[in-house]
Amino acid sequence: MNIQALSAQLLVGLINGSFYALLSLGLAVIFGMLNVINFAHGALYMMGAFCAYFLLNLFGIGYWPALIIAPIVVGLFGILMERSLLQWLTGLDHLYGLLLTFGVALILQGLFQNYFGSSGLPYAIPTELQGGVNLGFMFLPIYRGWVVIFSLVVCLVTWYLIERTQLGAYLRAATENPTLVRAFGINVPRMITLTFGFGVGLAALAGVLSAPINQVRPLMGADLIIVVFAVVVIGGMGSIMGSIITGFALGVIEGLTKYFYPEASNTVVFVFMVLVLLLKPTGLTGRAT
């Protein structure tokens, strides 16, 4: 067994897992509150990366401010999208939200492809995070370590916010019975809008994080989002901790598969999805209703 190759694949797995976790977390939060399966999530992730690219190349604003600005800008775009399109689908079948967001994703990706082509635009690793450290058994690029740790922190903070604070209690309660929560004096429609903005902001944040690793491409989200949906199905729709753990775990499993049996590395997630759907249709951590 080549320990260096194995740890390299593990690291790739953890990196992918970070993106899976951030994206599926946003999807879970949105699904819980709005009952919408947001197919535009990958496109919004892509917009986060493009936002960072524009900030740098048009305004000279670097990586660190972009980590904050891009999620806010794309989050506001999400709020606009919720107010103008999604809010009218309240109470309708899931299928409508799915089709609408799928359409939005195609439009966004088409627009960006039209102007920027399909090839990647470069985005440099910030100077503070360049280089790497030799851990003895492997070489760790600092930026990749940063992505894993930062994603983990963002996921855990989000989990804390939703599961352990009063604001999170409003969110959970409104997921269950929005009418009653509103009758307690809470402006539920505004909370739904802000939740969508927050979930979209998480996707954009993942986009910024990925820009220096994967380049900035109009279809970067389209490739990723299919796997992320599988992660959400495995973790259980709407479960916060479930999305985080499943996201990281499946990234690692994918990485290990790449080492032990590379031919299956692209399908292993979907094999898991099928197994989970057969054995526990609500997902590994899904709450039975």
């Binding site: 209690a169 959970r172 269950e176 009758a183 307690f184 809470i186 539920v188 709450r287």
Partner: protein
């Protein structure tokens, strides 16, 4: 006609004034012009058969029913077009028939969920004084794992925290054991003595007669009669006809 039956001597305008209230569930027209009033400090009970429109009346006042028409005035302010979060902020609190305890929240979170809408709500100590059982169950995991009676107490307790002085309770005794019903009766009496105004919907007429100042009879989405608790004896025959008991 109904006005004459109500207590005389109410100089102040009523706390809640419902006039010509109509409401729809989708296409079906449920309320056909409900008129009644609740004065400050009163306990008023809406009686009537299943499907008469009692719950719909409460929900319409709360702003939960989408399509409604007519007039609902709270503290003299028209609220028929207000959203339910706005109405709650004015100091109206609602305890639904199904109790509405949240499964994804623990007992403490359920209790602390409704935000304070006015100063002067009950403190936790006062609430535990009213409902000693709740204190023991505070650390329980899920709100929905409580017994029916405990869930009902939790549902009432959480709206007492908010500072709302007008409470609408939809069938608080439904499906509960007699000893729990007594406890809820004592609670309502105590709330009344502390100046709360309560609009109650009840099927349990015997219970209602122990707590209410006045009754209104709801039938086919209208108020068809009303009388004070003091005149109950004289109205018993009519009541039996109305309620079909």
């Amino acid at each position: 006609m109904l006005e004459a039956r109500q207590h005389s001597g109410a100089s102040a305008s009523p706390l809640l004034e419902v006039a010509g209230l109509e409401a729809w569930y989708g296409e079906s027209h449920i309320l056909h012009g409900v008129d009644f009033q609740v004065r400050e400090g009163e306990v008023v009970t809406l009686l009537g058969r299943n499907g008469a429109g009692k719950t719909t009346t409460l929900k319409s006042i709360m702003g939960i029913i989408g399509k409604r028409r007519g007039s609902v005035k709270f503290e003299g302010r028209e609220i028929i077009r207000a959203s339910s979060d706005h109405i709650a902020r004015l100091g109206v609190a609602f305890c639904p028939e199904e109790r509405g305890i949240f499964a994804s929240l623990d007992v403490r979170e359920n209790l602390m969920l409704p935000p304070e809408v006015r100063p002067g709500g009950l403190s936790l100590d006062q609430i535990f004084d009213l409902f000693p059982n709740l204190k023991e169950r505070l650390s329980s995991s899920q709100g929905t794992k409580l017994s029916g009676g405990e869930q009902q107490m939790l549902a009432i307790a959480r709206i007492l925290r908010t500072g709302a002085r007008f409470l609408m309770l939809d069938e608080p005794t439904e499906g509960l054991a007699p000893v729990i019903i007594q406890q809820i009766g004592r609670t309502i009496a105590r709330l009344k003595s502390e100046g709360f105004t309560i609009l109650l919907v009840e099927q349990n007429f015997r219970f209602a007669s122990t707590v209410a100042d006045r009754f209104y009879i709801v039938e086919h989405g209208k108020i068809i009669d009303g009388f004070a608790n003091a005149d109950l004896g004289a109205n018993m025959d009519k009541l039996h006809t109305y309620l079909g008991v």
